[in-house]
């Protein structure tokens, strides 16, 4: 009753195009990304199936939030959410998120000429990534040590980036550097990298491929630098978009791990009872459900108000909720599987390890709450 009366302005919209996209994504990911397939890919170097990537490109998903003039279908950022959520659900790993983050940075911050140079290629399947994070692992995207120094029309880069996802396969990189004392963004192409510039990083989420990228000695034309005036807003845009898509992925992963738990609780017996009948397992499983429902609501709200003033509040709320609820779900899923949960074979660990990783990218729950406080309380 109290809830009913609490509704003030809390919009979530989900149009027919998005409904169709969600349907398509569900069928596609379910077919392409069985858990067995996911486990095969854990062992592979690239971490994904190049054929599936081509199908994704063919479906137009890499251009879904890119304007028609650059080869996209211009459905907007909120069309990305059902796709990211579904990929998270089925642990379908491709460079989709990396590529999307990079392309949206270019869309946000590049000149018309630069957009024309790179965006159509991305719509057609170029793989892109972002090189933003540095050794300290700070979530402040303007906290940059890498440098670019211009000699005539060539930038000389130095420093290192970490957590550059899908870097081995990427064709282009959006890289943040300090240039003349200010943050700047430069687009590198893969043949501009030195040999051995990439080193694989071992991260807790085995479905992802992360790399350290050494920039020392890299040279790139100044025309690859995005216009200076756009840097700060582009980094802010990236921060919000990454958190939105990570939250969507986490919502998908939580939905999946909840089903893993339910399956076990409704089939496994202990002391002659199905274990799901024990309240000590049943009630926390309900808590997983409630956490999931909350995060989905917050995620789809954030997608809905993406172009509005509330964006920052909405995205940070979604990520704060998504991190905590997803980790809770994964953690309880391992525990509730008992001995089997402790093995590599149990799928619960896949989702738990992914949630642990995702919380640490672009800010965890406490970080976002800290940034929400001044927005909400003053």
């Amino acid at each position: 009753m109290s809830e009913d009366s609490n509704i003030k302005s809390a919009p979530i919209s989900f149009n027919d195009e998005q409904v169709m996209l969600l349907d398509t994504a569900m069928s596609f990911c379910r077919e392409k990304s069985s858990v067995a397939r996911v486990r095969d890919l854990l062992l592979s170097d690239s971490g994904y199936d190049a054929g599936i990537w081509q199908e994704i490109v063919a479906l137009g998903w890499t251009g879904i939030a890119i304007p028609e003039e650059f080869g996209g279908s211009e459905l907007g950022v909120n069309a990305l959410v059902p796709i990211a959520e579904t990929m998270g659900r089925f642990l379908l790993t491709t460079p989709f998120i990396s590529t999307t983050l990079a392309s949206q940075m270019i869309l946000q911050g590049a000149s018309e000429e630069q957009k024309t140079r790179w965006l159509p290629g991305i719509c057609e399947g170029l793989i892109a990534s972002i090189a933003i994070t540095e050794d300290e692992g700070s979530w402040d995207l303007e906290d940059i040590r890498c440098k670019a120094i211009a000699h005539e029309d060539v930038l000389h880069l130095s420093g290192s980036k970490t957590f550059v996802f899908d870097a081995r396969k990427a064709d282009i990189f959006v890289v943040s550097v300090m240039y003349e004392g200010m943050p700047a963004l430069v687009v590198l192409e893969k043949d501009q990298l030195n040999e051995n510039a990439l080193r694989r990083e071992v991260i807790i989420d085995e479905t992802r491929r992360s790399f350290r990228l050494t920039l020392d000695g890299v040279q790139v034309k100044t025309r690859n630098m995005l216009p200076a005036g756009n840097t700060i807003s582009t980094l802010a845009h990236l921060n919000m978009l990454a958190n939105l898509l990570l939250s969507a992925e986490l919502a998908g992963g939580t939905a999946a791990v909840l089903n893993v738990v339910i399956e076990y609780l409704t089939t496994r017996k202990q002391f002659d009872r199905l274990i799901g009948s024990y309240q000590s397992l049943k009630h926390p499983t309900v808590e997983i459900l409630l956490g999931l429902e909350s995060m989905r609501s917050l995620v789809y709200h954030a997608a809905t108000v993406w172009d509005e003033q509330q964006r920052e509040v909405a995205v940070r709320m979604a990520k704060a909720q998504a991190c905590e609820a997803a980790i809770f779900a994964g953690d309880r899923a391992v525990q509730f599987h008992g001995g089997f949960g402790f093995t590599y074979e149990c799928d619960a660990q896949l989702y738990l390890r992914r949630a642990l990783c995702s919380q640490l990218l672009f800010g965890d729950a406490a970080h976002h709450r800290k940034h929400l406080a001044p927005l909400l309380l003053s």
């Binding site: 009753m1 809830e3 009913d4 509704i7 049943k282 009630h283 459900l289 789809y300 709320m317």
Partner: protein
């Protein structure tokens, strides 16, 4: 009439204006927070007058049929009113059992005669309703109902006792679950459902003192009370099914309620306001990092709950478990309220220890009272523990 209110937009503006003009001033006494807490005649009369005024302005029962006293409008109109009442912090509609339980049920399955007889009195608060499901010693287990109704000519003779009857001493009618057959195999099959009069010989009520020290509930005693056979809803022995139908209305899982808020809403913003004014170690509590962290957590949770209500109406976004949000509403909001009030007490420094009746208590003692009263929702209508069972079993399919 419907054509006069051409658009929902225009209607909304009208509603905003009406409530702005008509919400009564705070009286000189503390109002209850829900219909379960009406403990004095003063409170009762104030709230009855307010409900009548809202009804007479046409803002209650808008979606109920005109023939019986309703407005005959689409539900959307009532929703606008309900939201606006909440937004403007209007006092709640006190005849809650009538508006949200009995009324929808009578409209759903009552006779023409019953509709004519009861609906208008529910809306204008002439006829107060109460609920007689729970019994002493049997808590949430409705299958254990022991109150007996024995057929005797064209009357049932009722003996037994009901507990947690809100508004029991003011009510004209009770929705009553009683056992008409003690020998059925299933403990549920012997129950029948009545729209029982309260003002007949053999029915007495006694107030129950709450943990706050206040009153609000009664225990109702049936001592050879005689109620006409025409009061039965459904057939004899179908009481359980009928009761489940009313519970669906109450949980909001089905439509049909007359609208209007039924309790004073607590918003996190109210606690934020308190935190601005209350001092903690000499500074406004809102400057304390722990308080800030907690407030942000609650704001996220509140927002998520609000948004989930919206999302529940978008089929593609709730396709996996369409009932999850509605079925968990009571659990989520009642526990939220309890925890939020705990924070509100705690953030005030030593002054948080003040209680109702202390002249320096923040918001006249609202916070400790709300906290203690919050248990009525985490306990009543199926405890939170039982709610979690229900969600686990019915929404997730976990074994009983």
């Amino acid at each position: 009439m419907q054509e006069n209110r051409a658009s929902l937009e225009a209607f909304k503006a009208e509603v905003v204006a009406w409530f702005e003009a008509n919400i009564p001033e705070q009286p000189g006494f503390l109002l209850p927070e829900s219909f379960m807490e009406v403990g004095t005649d003063q409170q009762f009369e104030f709230l009855r007058t307010w409900q009548r005024k809202v009804y007479e302005a046409g803002y209650l029962g808008m979606s109920w049929p005109e023939a019986y006293g309703g407005g005959g409008y689409p539900q959307a109109y009532q929703d606008i009113v309900t939201s606006e009442m909440a937004r403007q912090n209007a006092p709640f509609m006190m005849n809650t059992i009538g508006l949200n339980w009995a009324g929808p049920l009578i409209l759903h399955m009552g006779s023409e005669d019953a509709k004519n007889r009861y609906i208008k009195g529910i809306l204008n608060a002439d006829d107060i309703w109460c609920q007689g499901f729970s019994e002493p010693d049997h808590g949430s287990d409705l299958g254990k109902v022991q109150t007996k109704a024995v057929l005797d000519g064209n009357e049932y003779r009722v003996n037994g006792s009901k507990i947690w009857t809100s508004l029991g001493s003011y009510a004209k009618y009770m929705i009553l679950l009683a056992r008409t057959n003690p020998d059925t195999e299933s403990k549920y099959a012997g129950l029948s459902f009545f729209l029982s009069p309260m003002h007949v010989p053999g029915i007495e009520t006694r107030p129950i003192r709450k943990l706050t020290g206040e009153y609000g509930f009664t225990q109702t005693f049936f001592n050879d009370a005689r109620i006409p056979t025409s009061c039965i809803m459904g057939n004899e022995g179908e009481g359980w099914q009928v009761a489940m139908t009313t519970l669906m209305f109450e949980r909001g899982a089905a439509g049909g309620q007359a609208g209007g808020i039924s309790m004073i809403d607590l918003r996190v913003d109210d606690v934020v306001e308190l935190a601005r004014e209350a001092k903690r170690d000499g500074a406004p509590a809102i400057e304390d990092y722990y308080v800030r962290e907690q407030l942000v957590r609650f704001l996220i949770e509140e927002k998520a709950n609000q948004l989930s209500r919206v999302r529940a109406r978008i089929p593609a976004l709730v396709s996996e478990r369409p009932s999850a949000i509605a079925m968990s509403g009571k659990l989520r909001t009642s526990e939220f309220r309890r925890r939020l009030c705990q924070l509100a007490i705690g953030l005030q420094g030593a002054n948080g220890a003040r209680f109702i009746g202390d002249s320096q208590s923040a918001d006249a003692g609202k916070w400790p009272r709300s906290y203690l009263n919050a248990f009525s929702a985490t306990i009543g209508g199926g405890t939170s523990q039982i709610q979690a069972n229900i969600i686990g079993e019915r929404v997730l399919g976990l074994p009983k």
